[in-house]
C-alpha cells in the first residue's frame, strides 16, 4: 500500500499523539514535584504558604484537588513538610532520627509523622505527634523527639511498619513572615542516629 499521499496526515497524527503524551507527562511530573511556586525552605523543611490563600497558583490547585487535602489557611499558620533529614538524605523508617530544637515562634506548634501521601502511620503507641504543650522538655525548655521503631525514653514517635515517612511541622498563629526566606537556624534539625 502506498502511504505517500497520506504522509502529512500521518505526521500530523503522530505530532498530535506525541504532543498529548509529552503534555500529560509534563503535567504528571510537575504535579508530583510539590505544590507549585513560592515555596519556603529552611533546611529539610518546605512549606507552600500560598496553598492557603486566594492567590493560590494553578499548579498548587491541581495538586491539592488531586490529593484531596484541605490546606491550612494562610492566616491560621504554616505547615512545613520534611522528606529528608538535615543532611539531605531521604527519611527511612529503618533508621532512627532525633528532632532537636529550636523552633520558630508560634502560639502553638505540632510535630507529627505521616506517610508520604498524608496518612497517619499505624503504630502500637497510638501517638502520631507532639504539640508544644505535651512535649516533654528538659530543664531550660529544650526538647528532643526520637523517631524510631523501638521504644525510647522521653519523647518518642514510631513510624510503625511503614517503609518511609515524612515529618510535618505545623506552626499555628505564627509570626513567621511567609514572604521572605526563613532562617534555617531557627528550625529544628533532623539528625540521623543510625540505621538498623
Amino acid at each position: 500500500m502506498d502511504l505517500k499521499p497520506y504522509a502529512n496526515y500521518l505526521r500530523a497524527a503522530s505530532a498530535m499523539i506525541a504532543g498529548l503524551a509529552i503534555g500529560l507527562l509534563a503535567t504528571a511530573l510537575s504535579l508530583n514535584a510539590g505544590y507549585g511556586f513560592n515555596s519556603l525552605r529552611a533546611g529539610p523543611w518546605i512549606s507552600w504558604p500560598h496553598t492557603g490563600a486566594p492567590d493560590i497558583d494553578p499548579y498548587a490547585r491541581a495538586v491539592i484537588s488531586r490529593s484531596g487535602e484541605a490546606p491550612l489557611g494562610r492566616d491560621q499558620g504554616l505547615a512545613f513538610i520534611a522528606r529528608t533529614d538535615s543532611d539531605g538524605a531521604p527519611l527511612n523508617a529503618d533508621c532512627d532520627y532525633r528532632i532537636v530544637d529550636p523552633l520558630p515562634s508560634a502560639r502553638y506548634w505540632t510535630i507529627a509523622l505521616a506517610s508520604s501521601d498524608g496518612r497517619l502511620l499505624a503504630n502500637s503507641t497510638e501517638r502520631y505527634g507532639y504539640s508544644s504543650v505535651d512535649v516533654l522538655r528538659k530543664e531550660g525548655g529544650d526538647f528532643e523527639i526520637d523517631v524510631a521503631r523501638e521504644a525510647r525514653p522521653g519523647n518518642w514517635l514510631s513510624p510503625g511498619q511503614a517503609r518511609d515517612f515524612v515529618v510535618m511541622l505545623r506552626l499555628y498563629d505564627t509570626s513567621l513572615d511567609a514572604d521572605s526566606p526563613p532562617d534555617p537556624e531557627s528550625f529544628p534539625k533532623i539528625v540521623k542516629l543510625g540505621c538498623a
Binding site: 498529548l20 509529552i22 499548579y59 488531586r66 484531596g68 484541605a70 489557611g73 498524608g118
Partner: protein, 200 residues
C-alpha cells in the same frame, strides 16, 4: 549566515514545533482542568462523609483521626475537626460561635476547586464572638441593601464566596491527647446554618 543543516531535518522542523505546541497546550489545559475533574478532592470526600454520617445540613463533626480512618489526608492528628458543606444556591450561610480566647480554633472557607477564600483563627474574633455570613455576590448585595436605614450596622463579617459550592472546615486544637473530648465539645457549640434573605 548559512546554517549547515541537512534538508531532511528541516522537513521535520514544523512537525517538531507542532508537537511541542500540542504538548504545551495539553499541559496547560490538563493542569487547569484538574480541580474540576479530580474525583476525590477535599469537597467530594467531605460531602461523602457528611452524607453517610447524617442527612441533615449544618455542622458535622468529623471522626477522630486514626490510621486508615482519616477523612482528609495531611491533617494534624492533634486536632478535632468539623465541617459544614454548603451550596449557596439554597441560600446564604451563617457561621457563629463564641470563643474563650484560650484554645486555638481555626476556620477556613474553601470554595470548590481548591481555593481558600478566607481563613481566621479565634484570635480575630470580635468581642469573643465569631459571626460570619457567606453568600454569593447577589446574596451579599441583598443583605447590604437591607441594611440601609436606621438599623445599627451589622455585627457580622460578610464574605462573598467565589463559587456556589464549598465547605467551611473548623479545626479545634486538643493540647493533649486527653483534651480530644473537650475539643470535640467545643466544635459542637458552633452553629453553621443556612438562613433566608430578608424580604424587601
Amino acid at each position: 549566515m548559512r546554517l549547515n543543516i541537512p534538508d531532511r531535518y528541516l522537513d521535520f522542523a514544523p512537525w517538531v514545533i507542532a508537537t511541542l505546541l500540542v504538548a504545551g497546550i495539553v499541559h496547560i489545559v490538563s493542569v487547569l482542568l484538574m480541580p474540576s475533574v479530580a474525583p476525590r478532592d477535599a469537597l467530594a470526600r467531605l460531602a461523602a462523609y457528611v452524607k453517610s454520617a447524617a442527612p441533615a445540613e449544618g455542622l458535622v463533626v468529623l471522626p477522630q483521626m486514626t490510621p486508615g480512618g482519616e477523612t482528609l489526608p495531611f491533617e494534624d492528628p492533634a486536632f478535632a475537626e468539623a465541617v459544614c458543606v454548603y451550596d449557596l444556591a439554597k441560600g446564604p450561610l451563617r457561621v457563629k460561635t463564641n470563643v474563650d480566647g484560650e484554645d486555638y480554633l481555626g476556620l477556613s472557607f474553601h470554595a470548590s476547586a481548591g481555593r481558600i477564600y478566607h481563613s481566621i483563627t479565634d484570635r480575630s474574633a470580635i468581642k469573643g464572638k465569631i459571626d460570619i455570613v457567606v453568600g454569593d455576590a447577589r446574596q451579599i448585595d441583598a443583605l447590604a441593601s437591607a441594611d440601609e436605614g436606621d438599623a445599627p450596622p451589622p455585627q457580622e463579617v460578610r464574605l462573598t464566596a467565589p463559587a456556589k459550592r464549598g465547605f467551611v472546615l473548623i479545626r479545634s486544637f486538643a493540647k493533649r491527647a486527653s483534651d480530644q473530648e473537650r475539643a470535640r465539645n467545643r466544635l459542637s457549640t458552633i452553629s453553621c446554618q443556612r438562613f433566608d434573605l430578608p424580604q424587601g
